[in-house]
């Protein structure tokens, strides 16, 4: 029975997506390697380095479905090389053409290239889902561009904002991620084919042409320098995914916080037919998806750290660092796609409650306009004086339970500077959202 949560048979895909676990499934991993071997043989045949018929046979047999994996499994119990047991199966299937399998390549050439193919396929998912999230946020920002709510800092009520502005901030962040992913993709889709210590010594004088041809068949570019010990691209994948999933965790945390029983401005809502309640408290509707995002994200960041540390390779090859990368890459890709998949669900089903937003906004409706009052009064009595005076009245309001409006009206110095209109406005915090709406529009313009 499987023991890793990725592979659970009953409670499936709590921390993963089937789409991404399929990429890192063992047979798929083998297939990437076999694809590399087929492309290599084909390229070498085209350049006249090995017989054409041999390459054709290798290509036709380089398929996990064609191989007897029992041989491979048995071989792995004896041989500690990561690739040779699979190649043994391939060679046997190819008969005499087996001589030309993996001709001049090193194990790490095959496995690194296979890993890049898996990363490419994972990136497809990540870029697609981040793009969908952007579209959903865009619609949300448009819909609620002028919906007033309270802004908070230090977890305390600060001054009014619009919900559209909050979403626009998320949107701009996701948009930067999309740009980051695009530029990452442009840098890292490089295969590896450079032989045991990066000299291409066994590939012969045509080594570089073989490399270019092989990689172009796989849809990758060839790397000019060998990168067996240069793992910066892999570390960058980790960093990009970690930053992206931290954004997702931030959004999920905000939904969690604003969904607390006393706030209820946003709520995670389950799609029809799904329940996320408590086993013992029938009334509970728990934001479990937001919580899962937080939990998964807490693993993604350290994995990015592992990939950073795996950059410290010694000499021309260093499996101590490489193997820690092998453990980290599948996990970070799978976790990242899971986080994005969950965030999509959260945003798609998000319940937004304008009445609760207005209710909370009006809880301390006079007090939260203290900044506006300070600037208004500051023009006539000096900003620092106004700050001091207001501080005094606010404390009085806190201590006595009277409204700030009443105290302002009772204060001779202040009341002469405030018009009846100003007093009227004090009861309408929703009017004080500054340039929020324009900022939302600007962000929307910028990202579309």
């Amino acid at each position: 029975m499987p023991s890793h949560p990725f592979d659970y048979k009953f409670q499936t895909d709590v921390f993963s997506t089937p789409e991404c676990t399929a990429i890192f499934a063992e047979k798929c991993r083998f297939q990437y390697w076999l694809d590399f071997e087929a492309a290599l043989a084909e390229s070498q045949a085209e350049l006249g380095l090995i017989p054409l018929e041999a390459a054709q046979i290798i290509k036709s047999k380089a398929n996990v479905k064609q191989l007897d994996l029992a041989i491979t499994k048995d071989e792995y119990t004896r041989n500690r090389n990561s690739l040779v047991p699979l190649l043994k199966g391939l060679r046997q299937a190819c008969g005499s053409a087996g001589e030309y399998v993996h001709y001049g390549a090193t194990t790490q050439d095959t496995i690194d290239t296979g890993q890049v193919l898996a990363i490419r396929d994972s990136l497809d998912i990540v870029q697609r889902d981040a793009g969908k999230i952007k579209e959903l946020l865009l619609a949300l920002a448009q819909k609620y561009r002028s919906q007033a709510m309270i802004g908070r800092s230090h977890s305390q009520q600060a001054t009014p904002i619009t919900f559209g502005l909050k979403v626009a901030v998320w949107l701009s962040e996701i948009n930067r991620h999309l740009a980051r992913l695009k530029s990452l993709r442009g840098r890292i889709l490089l295969g590896q084919l450079s032989g045991a210590v990066g000299t291409m010594s066994a590939l012969g004088v045509h080594g570089r042409e073989v490399a270019h041809l092989t990689m172009s068949k796989l849809g990758l570019a060839a790397s000019t320098a060998p990168w067996h010990t240069s793992r910066d691209n892999m570390a960058e994948v980790g960093s990009c995914f970690a930053i992206l999933s931290a954004t997702a965790a931030k959004i999920a945390n905000e939904v969690f916080q604003l969904g607390k029983s006393e706030i209820l401005e946003l709520r995670e809502s389950a799609p029809a037919g799904k329940v996320s309640g408590s086993s013992t408290m029938p009334h509970k509707r728990n934001p479990v998806i937001c919580e899962r995002i937080a939990a998964i994200n807490s693993h993604i960041r350290p994995l990015a750290g592992v990939l950073m540390e795996a950059m410290i390779h010694e000499n021309e090859r260093d499996p101590r660092a490489l193997w820690s990368e092998w453990l980290a890459i599948p996990q970070i890709c799978i976790y990242t796609t899971a986080v994005l998949n969950y965030l999509l669900e959260v945003i798609e089903n998000l319940e937004v409650s304008p009445p609760q937003m207005l209710k909370n906004l009006n809880l301390y409706k006079n007090l939260i306009l203290s900044e506006w009052l300070m600037f208004k009064l500051g023009k006539v009595m000096g900003k620092l004086n106004a700050q001091e005076k207001l501080g005094f009245l606010i404390k009085q309001a806190h201590d006595s339970g009277q409204s700030l409006k009443v105290l302002l009206a009772a204060d001779e110095e202040i009341s002469q500077h405030l018009s009846p209109n100003d007093f009227e406005d004090l009861d309408h915090p929703e009017k004080f959202t500054g340039l929020a709406v324009q900022i939302v529009d600007d962000v929307i313009n910028e990202v579309t």
């Binding site: 800092s153 607390k260 006393e262 408590s278 009334h283 728990n286 919580e291 939260i368």
Partner: protein
């Protein structure tokens, strides 16, 4: 950084270099250090105090060697007198460290110069640099641990008082950020108390293996320390108030790593308390608040703000200590018999974590005794949540007659249609055909009224009875001694 006519210059042009005190680490910042370290803790790690401590350890060594007849008594006498950093040319030491790249030899050279004569020949006789520095680090940790235990004991005593005082103060308990069932404030605080008690134990236990001396020579063989090396190290440890290690720990850094883990646990526990206060201080909740004093400014631009600054800073410090615990684990990978790459990680990680932990405790000592508890809001929130909190009790009552699973389904379905209104829910339930008049409205209302949870006071009573107040009292009264033989302290 200033940009003039496209040319970039770096440096503070507004003040002269003489005014610049070259303190760039935040724990030493004249303006902001309070948020990251207490003055008391900073003194433990002070640069000068550290060098004097190294001298103290060297003095202890030479005294022990004289007692065993390994070096002349007169030399030990002379060296004891001369080991006073205040008489040393510090600038010469600084320059020499820069030239030699060695962390200890320049200090020893200056000591030899000040001592004069033959006595200087017996300085650092058979020890290795790391013997001296590791032993001094143990003394440093003893000192800071006494401070930490003292302050933690004080936090624990306050938590005990709060737990008892509010043991029956009914409030809403929350899970998944959602109102769940009633609890009491005392019961909530009792979990803070229990965790802090465990951290107190943890630190005391860790100190038993941590506070050892180091005297093992170049590769841990004690080769150049004479045949009496075993007696020597025992006497050396007694003189310094440390334990004797069974083997050299030059390359075995589990003690420091454990200390860093314990500090991370301890500070993390404080971070949890501080974060809970922050959360319950949200305007929409308003149940707790950290003390806010007159003159304190919440926001530079919003005069009404009362920010939980102290609590937030404790959370920051907890996260910093957490990161250093991971660095502590990195120090475990040492190569061969000595590996300075590990020790140099300790120098920064241990210093920082100890300072951060002391600052977090200092803040908790302000936050907890002045904790503002708004009983009206606590009651108000509980009442508003009544519909939510009563459902478990209702489920069990209905369950007796219709089965628990059916009751769960029935309440879930009914509560979806009653707008979070308890009377509405109870009325609908009393009329539902599925219950077939099995329960009167009054019975339902009774079941839905929150009461002090059954076991709260028992749990609290048992916890309080388990506290060893005598031990805490001793920790609180501990005299924070500088562990200095010469009694010379930095200003």
């Amino acid at each position: 950084m200033h940009i003039n006519n496209g040319k970039t210059t770096i440096g503070c042009e507004c003040i002269s270099m003489q005014q610049c005190n070259s303190h760039s680490h935040i724990t030493d910042s004249r303006f902001f250090r309070e948020g990251y370290a207490t003055d008391e803790a900073r003194k433990v790690f002070c640069d000068l105090r550290r060098m004097q401590r190294w001298l103290d350890v060297e003095v202890a060594l030479v005294q022990c060697q004289a007692e065993l007849g390994i070096v002349p008594a007169t030399a030990a006498q002379r060296l004891t007198e001369s080991a006073r950093l205040e008489n040393f040319d510090l600038e010469a030491i600084q320059n020499d460290i820069s030239t030699t790249g060695h962390s200890l030899v320049p200090l020893l050279r200056e000591w030899q110069r000040i001592t004069g004569g033959e006595a200087g020949e017996y300085i650092h006789f058979g020890a290795t640099t790391q013997d001296i520095q590791d032993t001094a680090q143990s003394l440093e940790l003893k000192e800071i641990s006494n401070i930490i235990l003292r302050d933690l004991a004080s936090v624990i005593v306050t938590l005990g008082e709060l737990t008892q005082k509010h043991k029956s103060l009914l409030m809403i308990g929350r899970t998944h950020g959602q109102a769940a069932l009633p609890t009491t404030l005392g019961l909530k605080i009792s979990t803070w108390l229990d965790e802090s008690l465990r951290n107190f134990e943890r630190l005391q236990r860790c100190l038993k293996s941590l506070l050892v001396c180091q005297l093992s020579g170049g590769v841990g063989t004690m080769d150049s320390l004479s045949e009496q090396s075993q007696t020597l190290i025992e006497n050396f440890a007694i003189k310094l108030g440390l334990h004797v290690p069974m083997t050299s720990w030059h390359a075995s850094r589990d003690r420091g790593a454990e200390f860093l883990s314990v500090l991370a646990l301890l500070t993390g526990g404080l971070g949890r308390i501080a974060n809970e206060i922050c959360q319950l201080a949200k305007n929409e909740i308003g149940e707790l608040a950290e003390p806010f004093h007159n003159g304190q400014i919440g926001s530079s631009t919003m005069p009404h703000k009362k920010n939980p600054e102290l609590c937030e800073q404790v959370v920051v410090l907890a996260k910093l200590c957490k990161s250093n615990a991971a660095t502590g684990l990195d120090t475990l990978i040492n190569e061969h018999e000595r590996d300075y790459r590990a020790v140099r990680l300790e120098w920064i990680a241990i210093t920082d974590s100890a300072l951060f932990c002391s600052a977090a405790l200092g803040m908790m000592k302000k936050i907890l005794p002045g904790l503002q508890i708004n009983q009206d809001r606590i009651k108000d929130n509980l009442n508003k949540a009544a519909i939510l909190v009563s459902t478990e009790a209702l489920m069990f009552m209905l369950g007796e007659k219709i089965g628990k699973q059916s009751a769960h389904k029935l309440i879930y379905r009914t509560s979806l249609n009653c707008n979070d209104n308890i009377s509405d829910l109870l009325e609908k339930l009393s009329r539902t055909p599925e219950l077939d008049d099995k329960f009167s409205l009054q019975e339902l209302q009774q079941a839905a009224t929150p009461t002090v949870p059954g076991q709260a006071t028992t749990i609290i009573k048992r916890l309080i009875a388990s506290i060893d107040y005598e031990k805490l009292g001793q920790a609180q009264k501990a005299i924070i001694s500088p562990c200095s033989l010469t009694g010379i302290l930095c200003r």
